[in-house]
């Protein structure tokens, strides 16, 4: 259980950055997409998602801004910064290397 948590936490940042690579999104959308695309295997709730977002923002990897659209309340949208893009690529490389190594040792095939 605890390995599970560590793994999730480590991957959380990568997942969020990857989702923001596609386009700007607000918090609820991010949570919902993670839920949908992982078929419920990865789950963020309000108390875990936002601290992660704030941490990423603080480190300059993403940037949030309030956007007002007609007929809705303002929402906070997050955008991937250039630095975030670089970090995402680096994380992808190290995850790839990690999975390759894991696969070679434990013979787990990954998609």
């Amino acid at each position: 259980m605890s390995e599970d948590r560590e793994l999730r936490k480590g991957s959380a940042e990568t997942v969020i950055l990857a989702l923001l690579e596609e386009r700007d999104r607000h918090g609820y959308e991010i949570a919902k997409l993670i839920d949908q695309r992982s078929d419920g295997a990865l789950k963020f709730h309000v108390a875990s998602l936002y601290p992660t977002l704030y941490r990423l923002e603080r480190r300059g990897l993403i940037q949030g801004r309030w956007v007002e659209r007609s007929n809705t309340r303002r929402r906070r949208f997050y955008r991937l910064t250039a630095q975030g893009q670089k970090t995402l690529e680096a994380q992808r490389r190290s995850w790839k290397a990690f999975f390759a190594a894991l696969n070679r040792v434990a013979r787990i095939s990954h998609a």
Binding site: G27, Y28, V46, A47, Y50, P51, R55, R76
Partner: protein
Amino acid sequence: MREADDVDDVDFRALVRARLEPLDVDAARAADIVDELAQHCAQQYADLVASGVDQRDALTRALAPLENRRRVVDEIARADRPRRSAPPPPASSTHLVVDLWRDVRYGLRLLHRSPGFTAVAVMTLALGIGANAAIFSVVNAVLLRPLPFADPARLVDVGEPGPDGRAGNVGFTTVVDWRERTHAFDEIAMIRSWYPTLIANGQPERIPAMRVSANFLRTLGVAPALGRDFAAADDTPAGWRVLILSDGLWRRRFNADPAVIGRVVTMNDQPYTVGGVMPPSFAPIISEHFYEPAQMWALLGYDRSQPFACRSCQHLKAIARLEPDTAIGAALVDVNGVHAALRREHPAEYGAATAIAVTPLADELAGNVRAPLFALMGAVAIVLLIAAANVASLLLARVADRERDLALRTALGASRGRIVRQLLVESSLVAWLGGLAGIALAAAVVPLVADLSPVPIARLATARVDVAVVIFALAVSFGTTVVFGLAPALRASRVDLQTTLRAEARHSAANPTSVARRLLIAANVALAVVLLAGAGLMIKSVGRLLGVDPGFDPDHVLTMQISMVGKAYAKNEAVVAKGDEMLAALRRLPGVESVALAGQIPLAGNVDRWGLHVEGRPVTPDDPFVERYSVTPTYFAVMRIPLRRGRLITDADRASTEPVMVIGDRTARTVWPNGDPIGQHVRIGGSDGPMYTIVGIVGDVRHVALAAPPTLQMYTAQAQLTDSFLTVVMRSASDFGLLAPAARQAIWSAASDVPVYRVDAMRTLVARSVGARRFVAILLELFGAVALVMTAVGVYGVISYSVAERTREIGIRSALGASRADIVRLVLANGLALVFAGLATGIVLAVATTRFLDNSLYGVSATDPATLAAVASVLFTVAAAAHLVPIARAMRVDPAIALRQD
């Protein structure tokens, strides 16, 4: 589409907020976080309900992750504010310093975040405090700082009172008797002005100097740095030619040579022995009665036998040091007792009985500038009040803007005291920044003030921003903060969470914040009226004064003073002949229309009054004293003084012919109220002089000042009553910058040993005579302009804010069909009511206060209705103009958007 965070009337924000407190991030950030999380929960709830989950279950599930409050709060705070090295102390901490430091940092951050507010507030205060610091540094230097002498409180002037009630001049023998018979004075010294001519490098230089009694320096409590003080034994008609030099003269003309002591210097063909040199710290302010600071001192050298040492020969100034612990009142009783006895013993030598005045020397030096300076202090105090009212109004607006934020902070556990402190810290920061900027402003401006002053004011040049001024400015800043920061702070501390978050409450007109701001602005307008009324009255006075006919035509007249003294000029004939030679040389200069010599001229600070005794009437000490001008015949043409009757002085009036005199209108009317003065004979000065025949009457001139009515005046011929100290007056359309050096050369071509000094256009002398008033007028004008700008900004701020507040109301009105004109009327009615209230109050205040200016006004009443009306209309125009932008903004209000605003 529905509001995402307000589903089925569930207030997610309140729910989330309740679960997140106390969140240790700043209030604005906390509000953002609550907003964001509330939206998330609301949407999740909506999605759950849409997928068929029961509403109650959906709410529980949406909020479930937040139920472990402590952890959530910690995590958010840590993620958001990771740079904190130590965990923050709880809000209820008693660590005052830590809290204060945090408040200061928070305050600075807030100020930094609203640069517009900060700039306007700091600049406003800087102007207010700067003006106060500048004027205070002048007041401090001129009036408050003790004189740079030993025990200066004991130094007084003694003498018959002049027209202003202060001690005037005295005669030598009178003072000698005072010295012998009074007990209240430790020392009584005598001084008079003296202008010897020092010739060096072939150029004669006239040195402003003083003749003083031997105890002069001892009376002041100062001593020479080099050599020795004057000795009483030298203070005789034979031995007085001992010099003490100022440090400046010693350096400039004697190369700071210490061997100068004992050296013999020749001036006016007489040998003088240098006895000492004063230290550089000795500011010869005593001589400022005499127009220029003295650069050297010699002994008086009088004794009772000399004709000019008589009791009524009042050309000396007496400066005394009171005995220790003697009050001025006691000295007054003492000297007046003695003087009454002298008057009984020598009835023929004293005029109408007047009490002898004893005036503190410091007052005497401050002279006529005391009242104007206090008027200026009043003016800058008003500027400061206006500035403070403006800043208070800005602070109130900020409090109103931040009510949500403050309410949230209160809700999140901040105590009322803490909120007050936070706001006070913030307004203190503004005040201190404004105070520092104001001090910098004053430091930059004070040296200019001294230059701006057209009249020599004792010690004005020593005005500077010193410790006293800095303390004054900081104290003023602090006072401003307490008075004007406290009200907004207390107001803010009463912010009520419920009403505030229901935003509607803010639109109520009875909102106390708005009421306070509106009162402040009305007060601001009222104060501006007072200040502008003062400025307007002074400007009008100066205008009236400059419009006064001085009795002569001051345009295109150049004046320069010369003195013909020394062996070569011992005989009157020599002086007259040399004068004629100079006039001839000057007349040959291109562009010179006419030129003349005069013993004195109007408005140049000269005083030369002689007793006038009419033939056939008994001579009494109360015979009139008449201003005497010894002139060459062309003087009247140069000055364009009109002849009323009879004839002017002509070239035919020589030393060998019958002495003649021309008198002024007023002399004719005063001395001969019923008869014809022409052909009458008079003596002047004493009872043994020659008899003069009156041959003509001319127009009066304003001699003392434009504001003073003409004095009694008479003109004698330079050829018949010869003066050695003369003023050259020349009428020319040429540029004086070119004419003056040419004229100097022309004079030296005729007489190389004659010093030429005080070269001024007659116009300059006229302007200088209204100088003090103009100085005050310029400064009041400046402060008035500042007040006007501040008022405009203040009115603009309040009206803009109230338009913003009433956007919704305006929206409703225009939705209901109100026309643009209706909207304009709405905004104007709202603001102009304030302006009118302010104007009315201000006019009442102005009528009550401008009479303090009475003494400085000329030809205009302190309650001049025209001035008040002009001031009111200027202020009204400015205040109305300040409505334009808010009106434009109100017209752009879109009802659809306005109605949705919360």
